[in-house]
């Protein structure tokens, strides 16, 4: 209940209204208002390899963070814009990683070709495998997506194919650390801004419609299965790219690509960053992954740590960092008499 006789009011800032919609930008303040947050994000991420240029270990961590960030963005896209809860992001990582390993180490394609081919082929394979549960609404997708990484991991182990428990070794690495750092950073930014554009285009509107009420979308003459398949294709493509990149980074593809970390961390990052914002997922990974690196000496207790962080966020700030920050940036509050 509010205080007697007055209530807090939230109002959009004038500058927000001026700069939204028609983009009637009439001066530097408006331009600054629009560009500032994006600039901070892009410049901040691009400067990371420079900042850590004398700390090779942390430069590697930046690459890993970007890989998790891409997975988290893909998770956020599927969960909050299409309504598919994907509990098996590690499947995409594993698929992309193993495909590029076969192409590169066994067939001899250079990474410039093997990574894109693994991305597209992995996306096609994941979409086909997940297709049977796409027409359904509800928990089916989550269950099936949780199973795939386990199935593949155990198949490789049991039949001792694709290097078995040793994995495939001898992948080409990147020629230097600048290449590896900037490739993944640029791709992450393209994925982030590309998806942000996509969800506001017509396709994105239809996808959000599928999430809200798939029967109404069907009644409008649109195939729900096709829309979901398209979304899964995009998300799994992102995941497979991340996986392919990761195995070139380690010059090795093994069973740990199917590890549970790759499935859990994106979910935690999305919750902490704020679901439905896409940027939030990225920010969440930039907080969680370095923290978990810092806590590496605690070994498996790290998992306890993220579980606690995740639970605390859900209880105390379930909206997430980005939703909160966006509100503070676009709106101000004041007390008014009623």
């Amino acid at each position: 209940m509010a205080e007697e006789g007055r209530r807090k009011e939230r109002i959009d800032r004038g500058i927000k209204i001026r700069t939204s919609g028609l983009y009637a930008i009439s001066g530097w303040p408006e331009l600054f208002y629009l560009i500032f947050p994006r600039f901070i994000l892009i410049a901040g991420i691009l400067s990371l390899p420079l900042v850590f240029s004398f700390a090779p270990y942390w430069r590697r961590v930046v690459c890993i963070v970007c890989i998790y960030a891409m997975l988290s963005i893909a998770f956020d896209f599927l969960a909050n814009f299409v309504g598919l809860i994907n509990l098996g992001s590690s499947f995409f990582i594993g698929l992309g990683g193993y495909l590029t390993a076969i192409l590169n180490a066994q067939w001899g394609l250079p990474p410039v070709l093997s990574i894109p081919i693994a991305t597209v082929a992995g996306a096609v394979i994941s979409t086909i495998l997940l297709l049977p549960c796409l027409p359904l609404r509800g928990i089916y997708f989550a269950i099936v997506s949780l199973m795939f990484p386990l199935i593949f991991e155990k198949l490789i182990q049991a039949f001792n194919i694709l290097g078995g428990t040793n994995g495939i070794v001898g992948l080409d690495g990147f020629s230097n650390a600048w290449w590896e750092g900037y490739t993944i950073i640029v791709v992450t930014l393209i994925v982030l801004f590309g998806l942000r554009r996509l969800v506001n285009e017509d396709v994105g509107l239809v996808l959000r419609g599928v999430k809200d009420n798939d029967q109404a979308v069907k009644a409008s003459g649109i195939s729900v299965t096709f829309c979901k398949a398209l979304a899964v294709f995009i998300a799994s493509g992102i995941g497979c790219f991340a996986g392919a990149f990761l195995s070139h980074l380690y010059m090795w593809a093994g069973l740990s690509l199917f590890a549970l970390d790759f499935s859990i961390m994106p979910i935690a990052a999305t919750v902490i960053g704020g679901g439905g914002t896409l940027v939030g997922a990225l920010i969440g990974s930039f907080i969680l992954v370095p923290l978990s690196e810092l806590l590496r000496s605690f070994g498996t207790l790290r998992v306890v740590f993220y579980s606690l962080v995740l639970t605390a966020f859900i209880i105390f700030k379930s909206e997430g960092i980005m939703v909160y920050a966006q509100r503070k940036y676009h709106q101000f509050e004041r007390w008014v008499k009623v």
Binding site: A2, E9, R10, G274, S318, E319, G320
Partner: protein, 248 residues
């Protein structure tokens, strides 16, 4: 019975209920009429306390800020801050708009869920009473709630609220989407419930004509404010009201 003074509800900056004062005596049927967006459902949420739950959920999600000002006295007690389940325990039972029955439970189970607060004897007695009011439900006892027709679902929703042993029953748009003949049945039942159980009933509706003959007192809401109030008969003869809510 219940007296709500100066109710005000804001959904973010939009005012949904503006300074409404409402009063319902023991054994009365009070009608609240208004078009879409007049604030009827919000008023029901405030009386039943559900608004506090909506408020909390929105706050956790970082969504709209819901601001509520209310002074509600019920049976001589101030219940403005009481949680919805405690209000239900005190006998304020909401029969929500669009019925909200449990679609995967059978009719009998739905009614049993409603009787959670009642003692065994009360539950048994009320169950027989509900089946005597709605013989259709008796026939459909084992059918899943989701497979009932709109009219049967409405009967089930009313039955379920009765099972909770209401002293004050809040019926939110009980005639929504029903055929005129079924509307008539529901109205007859509301009257019977008041007669047999001696409870107070507050009923909201958009179209006043079928309901107004049974109400003792009525309020008319427009954009959140109570623009008119009076005895049912008086309102019926008011030309403005006639044009707006009776469709003549």
């Amino acid at each position: 019975m219940i007296e709500a003074r100066d109710l005000m509800v804001f959904y973010e900056n939009m005012i949904a209920v503006n300074n409404v004062t409402l009063h319902c005596d023991d054994g009365q049927i009070v009608g609240v009429f208004g078009a879409n967006s007049a604030g009827k459902s919000t008023l029901m949420y405030v009386l039943s306390g559900i608004i506090l739950d909506i408020q909390r959920k929105e706050r956790m999600r970082g969504g709209e800020r819901v601001t509520v000002f209310s002074k509600i006295t019920y049976a001589g007690k101030d219940i403005s801050l009481m949680k919805p389940h405690e209000r239900a325990r005190e006998g304020i039972i909401l029969c929500p708009e669009r019925r909200r029955i449990f679609p995967e439970s059978s009719v009998l189970e739905n009614l049993k869920i409603g009787a959670y607060l009642a003692s065994k004897e009360q539950a048994k007695e009320t169950l027989d009473y509900v089946f005597s009011l709605f013989p259709t439900l008796d026939r459909l006892k084992d059918r899943q709630g989701g497979f009932l027709s709109g009219g049967e679902q409405q009967m089930l929703a009313i039955g379920r609220s009765l099972m909770a042993q209401p002293k004050l029953l809040l019926l939110d748009e009980p005639l929504l989407g029903l055929a005129p003949s079924i509307q008539k049945d529901v109205i007859r039942v509301i009257k019977e419930i008041r007669r047999d159980r001696r409870i107070s009933i507050i009923v909201t509706e958009q179209y006043a004509r079928p309901v107004i003959p049974i109400v003792d007192y009525a309020y008319i809401l427009e954009n959140g404010s109570a623009v008119m109030e009076g005895k049912g008969k008086e309102l019926m003869n008011n030309p403005d009201v006639k044009a707006a809510y009776f469709g003549v």
